[in-house]
Symmetry: C2
Subunit: 455 residues, 2 copies
């Protein structure tokens, strides 16, 4: 357990740093040294920020220093954006200064044939205890500390999902979707060449992190296979983890190997291990996002019975197809319940009183009248509300319903234009997951049910 404690402390010292120096801070908006410093400032970081640049007095309005050792106050974290050959010297200077953590964005190490430079970093870290994320990363973002030390993207919306990725772009895309949809993230990190901190360290941190409800992990091959296995087994007991792993096919394995230089292992064995540990293995990138969204946002479902309420019969049929294929059950409506629904003022006589309960029209009152009645009968464990075309007042009504009833609500909103985009964000901000198609909603719900049953 010493290793676990050390991992959490190491990541914590980086994510919760109280002061940051950006080594290689630049005034040129096209450079990573500009983008990174800018992200830290725009992200609202409240600690001290020290741009390091020997040729400038000020960078982005902040007083700059020629080197780390010139900085008057203490530095917790350095973010390094200078050419690879100069990084080791900076790390040594940082050790002198008492810095505890480094995020090395700079590339040009092992991935560029310079394993020697990388070994130097590793050696400094091992000897000094300086903890390193990277090199060759886009950076780290820990929203609770408002520390977006990442050249891209700038994500500032606090949310329940942590993203760990062995690819900057994959990490960025999930984080960016979360931001765009109003869902937000707790943190994001990419692994890069992992001279020190690796996937297991970040998993340990997020497993204990109060702001994180679920972890999305993109991986090609773990740095430390055996430790990864043990970590996953333990972490998955505490928190939901969804893994997206490339290497399902020979070509994918080769591609992953040429990206990170490590063997992907046998894919079926990996799937088996995930099942055994209670780790959710996602099918693709959107499925990773959708399943994490559902798991992290929904109230935990108490079973697998899904009731679909819809304004669109066709969309409901598509959603139920996917739901059944993913193992959800579609219970019928008891006769007495149907009677009560028929008495509801707003629900038209020609509605289809079955599952799906098809109101055949985009009238939000249908939902607000029906749901409390359904809830009394306890007929399902999850309600999927399908909004087809614009549904005025939808977001407000769903927010209120979610507060009134105990069964988890999920929304699929499609064909709704600008109102769909605005209301989807509103609902997600208030904690109701929204999916752009009924198929994707069903996949997300199935992930949440899986998580409730098997984790």
């Amino acid at each position: 357990m010493e290793q676990v404690k050390q991992a959490i402390e190491a990541v914590n010292s980086i994510f919760n740093a109280r002061s940051v120096a950006v080594v290689g801070a630049s005034q040129d908006p096209g450079k990573m040294g500009y983008m990174t410093l800018n992200s830290i400032i725009q992200g609202g970081y409240e600690g001290d920020i020290y741009p390091i640049n020997p040729k400038a007095d000020h960078v982005l309005g902040l007083r700059a220093y020629p080197s780390i050792s010139h900085v008057p106050g203490p530095i917790d974290l350095i973010v390094v954006v200078i050419p690879a050959p100069y990084v080791a010297a900076v790390l040594r200077e940082a050790v002198e200064k008492g810095v505890s953590g480094a995020v090395i964005i700079s590339g040009g190490f092992r991935e560029a044939g310079r394993s020697d430079l990388e070994e130097e970093l590793r050696s400094i870290s091992e000897k000094s205890g300086l903890r390193i994320c990277g090199p060759n990363v886009q950076g780290i973002n820990y929203v609770p500390n408002k520390l977006c030390a990442m050249f891209w993207p700038l994500v500032t919306t606090p949310g329940p999902i942590a993203v760990i990725g062995q690819s900057g772009t994959v990490t960025a895309s999930i984080a960016e979707w979360s931001e765009f949809e109003g869902l937000g993230i707790s943190g994001a990190v990419n692994l890069g060449n992992q001279v020190d901190l690796c996937e297991s360290d970040f998993l340990e941190f997020f497993a204990e992190d109060e702001k994180t409800r679920a972890i999305a992990l993109y991986i090609e091959a773990p740095k430390e296979g055996k430790r990864f296995q043990e970590t996953l087994r333990r972490v998955a007991k505490r928190k939901p983890v969804a893994i997206l792993k490339s290497g399902r096919t020979a070509g994918g394995q080769k591609a992953a190997a040429s990206h990170t230089g490590s063997l992907a292992g046998i894919d079926e064995v990996f799937s088996g291990a995930c099942r055994q540990f209670g780790v959710f293995r996602a099918d693709d990138l959107e499925h990773t996002f959708d399943s994490m969204k559902a798991i992290a946002t929904m109230r935990e479902p108490q079973g697998n019975r899904l009731l679909v309420l819809t304004t669109s019969g066709g969309s409901a049929a598509l959603g139920i197809d996917e739901a059944e294929q993913r193992g959800l059950s579609i219970p019928p409506l008891p006769a007495q319940l149907v009677e009560e629904l028929k008495e509801a003022q707003s629900i038209p006589d020609f509605a289809s009183f079955s599952n799906p309960l098809d109101f055949a029209g985009a009238n939000i009152e249908n939902f607000t009248e029906a749901l409390p009645i359904l809830d009394q009968f306890g007929v399902a464990d999850i309600y999927l509300l399908i909004f087809g075309d614009p549904v005025p007042g939808g977001a407000e009504a769903v927010e209120q319903l979610a507060a009134e009833i105990s069964t988890p609500l999920v929304v699929s909103y499609l064909g709704g234009g600008e109102l769909e985009r605005l209301d989807s964000v509103k609902m997600q901000i208030s904690g109701i997951p929204v999916f752009p198609t009924p198929d994707r909603a069903a996949r997300g719900i199935a992930a949440a049910v899986w998580n409730a049953c098997y984790r």
Copy 2:
């Protein structure tokens, strides 16, 4: 062939109407009679528009008439948005006036237990020759005639895809995505209760329509099974068709049946028929859109060899996984080609010179230098360019490349924020399909290859 000719003429008389009356045109923005008239006006329709409303002199700035018979000029098409019990009388009046087509948006017929009212419409159509789309539809949109006679959505961007749907929402969502992404549509129609015109009629029309390059069809159960089969077989020879059909599972079949009141048939048999006819069967709603986008936009691939060029190694691994699983081949790069690539000025030494060709950085010059060299060697039938994170200048460069080289280009753009959204639209407007993830790109490409091989 008489039936085919009649079908095309019937749909043509509606889609290419030179004058339109909206029966039930309303001044209340919340009503369908307002939304429909508004769509026709905003869509830029250039023929005569006659609002019919006995209580108003003007609606939406246009002179209104108390009834069809009061309209001074000829009327080609009526769009009906009045309560079901009054529709038959209006149709009789329309027949008197010499109207040839009707789009009946009004609901409240068979789906609401009033089969009697629906039979009346059918009888009028059969006796008079008046051709009807509906009732119980969102309407029709034929962009070449700038005729958006649909209460929702308003789609005005001309594009290569026609959408036919047994669900207003499914039709709306595909049309709306096409509009949002700059891809556009040729036409969209939903089938509703099909008292007269049905799926086969619209398929016949779009098969001959010059503006339509591919047809997306959402269906629960065809109205005329045997004719549908014959039509599909013939239409698929002329034009690519992607079908999304609900009813893969028992629950989905039940849901579809309760929506349209017809049996869905045995799912495997349907899949077999699609394969035999060369009709692409899509897995889900996004897959329908993605496959149609690829088929309608890409140059036809001459084989199944895919070369991935990427700024993101992780994304490439995910794309190649999906591509191999969908039957695409991932050819290696010949040694001589690699030599030439290494000599290219912009391509870094540490790039991964294999397939994927991983530039390991978001520099557009890498692509513009590499692609013409690759094209000389004829190493692949399709190039998938993966842009991870923002790639400044990407849209312009891709547009130019597409003009210079003969091999079809497809782009996957992810993690790129606002630039991604803007540039994706630009590229799609210029005819290059863009997908939000490498998985979806691979699925789209596989559909285009399938279409080139098996249709």
